[in-house]
């Protein structure tokens, strides 16, 4: 598949997200996407960028939606906050869902606001019983208002809390079990957090129930050197690295092929480079599917 000679997908009637590779669509790529209609299986956008039920961004998203299934990825609901869940935010999201008819809707295992101020970040939760109960209640509320299942994504993190008592994989799995939510497993985030906190990424993967995983994320990160040590920063500003590809292949073996998204948010490359990353993910998915058939035979 040559990304420069795009195949034109047929207009989409069904919005279900296929077990294929998709790309995170950012506004600088919108025109190129509509003009070239590259062969990617699906698109994901940040839901908040299309709130308001009007305007230029939504117009182009609806045009893209004619050709691709779309997943809505929330970044601002702040599910882990102790502030009340924002009903206007949920209403906006619900309105967008009604309009776009997305195949999947996801949010994060994190918090981002307190005392009415939003920090525009995915901040780490302490993994305690208190936080678990709170987070599950919030997922229940959100799913109730939205009238559908959410996928919850594992965040990348740079710090841990001394009073955390539950491993992140167990916390995430329990949220899914208690609320009926699905899991959006970000392989790059696992890799970044495993390095930053010194746990084994495969242990994480092995703890995740395959049937709960609705989607996988892949992205680039960078190693930042400080005078007193080094840290992996989840900056989504580069291609997926070899080690994350390996971890992804391992995840596909353990969890079966799942819809997989390439995220790239900073220092955006030309669209064909992003499509190329999706092609690599598709190759991995195809290999995993073939292997699975051979095992079943």
């Amino acid at each position: 598949m040559n990304p420069l000679k795009p195949l034109a997908p047929a207009p989409v009637v069904d919005g279900a997200i296929p077990v294929d590779a998709g790309i995170g669509l950012r506004s600088p790529h919108m025109q190129a996407l509509l003009q070239t209609r590259p062969a990617v299986g699906w698109l994901e956008v940040h839901a908040e960028n299309f709130f308001g039920n009007a305007g230029v961004p939504l117009h182009y998203l609806m045009r893209a939606r004619e050709y691709y299934p779309v997943s809505l990825h929330g970044v601002g609901l702040s599910l882990g906050s102790t502030d009340p869940l924002s009903q206007p935010h949920l209403r906006q999201l619900r309105q967008l869902i009604d309009r776009v008819q997305p195949g999947l809707v996801s949010e994060h295992l994190s918090w981002g606001a307190v005392s009415g101020i939003h920090f525009n970040d995915l901040l780490p939760l302490p993994y305690t019983e208190e936080a678990l109960d709170h987070f599950c209640r919030r997922v229940d509320q959100a799913q109730h208002v939205l009238g559908r299942q959410l996928l919850i994504e594992n965040p990348s993190s740079y710090l841990r809390y001394r009073h955390s008592t539950i491993p992140e994989w167990e916390f995430l799995t329990t949220v899914a079990e208690r609320t009926g939510a699905g899991i959006l497993l970000d392989i790059n985030n696992i890799f970044v957090s495993a390095f930053n906190h010194g746990f084994d990424a495969e242990t994480y993967l092995r703890a995740i129930p395959a049937d709960r995983v609705g989607e996988i994320h892949l992205a680039g990160h960078s190693l930042k050197q400080f005078e007193d040590g080094e840290l992996l920063i989840d900056d989504h500003a580069s291609p997926v690295c070899d080690q994350v590809w390996s971890l992804y292949c391992c995840a596909l073996r353990l969890l079966d092929p799942k819809p997989t998204l390439i995220e790239w948010d900073a220092e955006l490359p030309p669209l064909p480079d992003l499509v190329d990353q999706a092609r690599l993910a598709r190759d991995c998915l195809n290999r995993a599917a073939t292997r699975r058939q051979e095992t079943c035979r």
Partner: protein, 260 residues
Amino acid sequence: MNALNRLQRAFAEDLWGSDLKHLHGLIPDGRLPAARLLQVYRNNFRISLTEALEAVYPVMQRLVGADFFRYLADRYLRNHPPTHGDLAQFGDRMAVFVASFQPAASLPYLADIARLEWACHEVFHAPGNTPVGLDVLTRMPAADLPGLRFRLGPACHLVASDFPVHCIWQNNQAEVDEPEVVDLNRGGETVLVLRPCWTVQLWALQPAAGRLLTSLCRGEPLGEAVDQALMLDRTLDLQSLLSRYLAAGVLIPRCDSPHS
């Protein structure tokens, strides 16, 4: 939920740089000392929201330079942090903020540039305009026309300034390598920001046209607005002006007007 709430409030104070040490003891050192790990979150918070302001205010940023803009954005953020999980409204008070921002006092036009850029942002996200045919006016009894009132279309903003803001805006677009020197004494400009289709446009209005639209926006009836515009320019071609505004959905006849 008390412990979680306390933790989140302490974390927030740390993000603001208060360094009250509330979090110390809760966060063990990792690959880096705990204070350094928190610094990563402080940076993300500051940088991501500065970038959000840069995206809305590129002309302002170009006028004051990247370093000064970062400083200004930081002060803005402290005064008017985001209060919603979507950032569409973040930056809405920039014009008022910058008007009283002493370090930028030497650029008296900066607040109006901020108003203009916020107008572009709002028009970009607004519902589209609906064109109106000139026949709406020609079908009316002539005697009713002077009493007709209008409102501005949803994807329109009118920005009036004592400075040549359109000229400044044009000269400071990313693609302009060598901006012309703008004479600040050349007089004010009224700019119509609109979105006839899916691209935001800026129309610099002649003074008489600017007066006409400003009056109509205030809800004054057509007759009075026309009289005021004609005082500025006796040769104003009203018919072509009105049909242009109606066709672009800039002016919408109000239902409380007679026969509209």
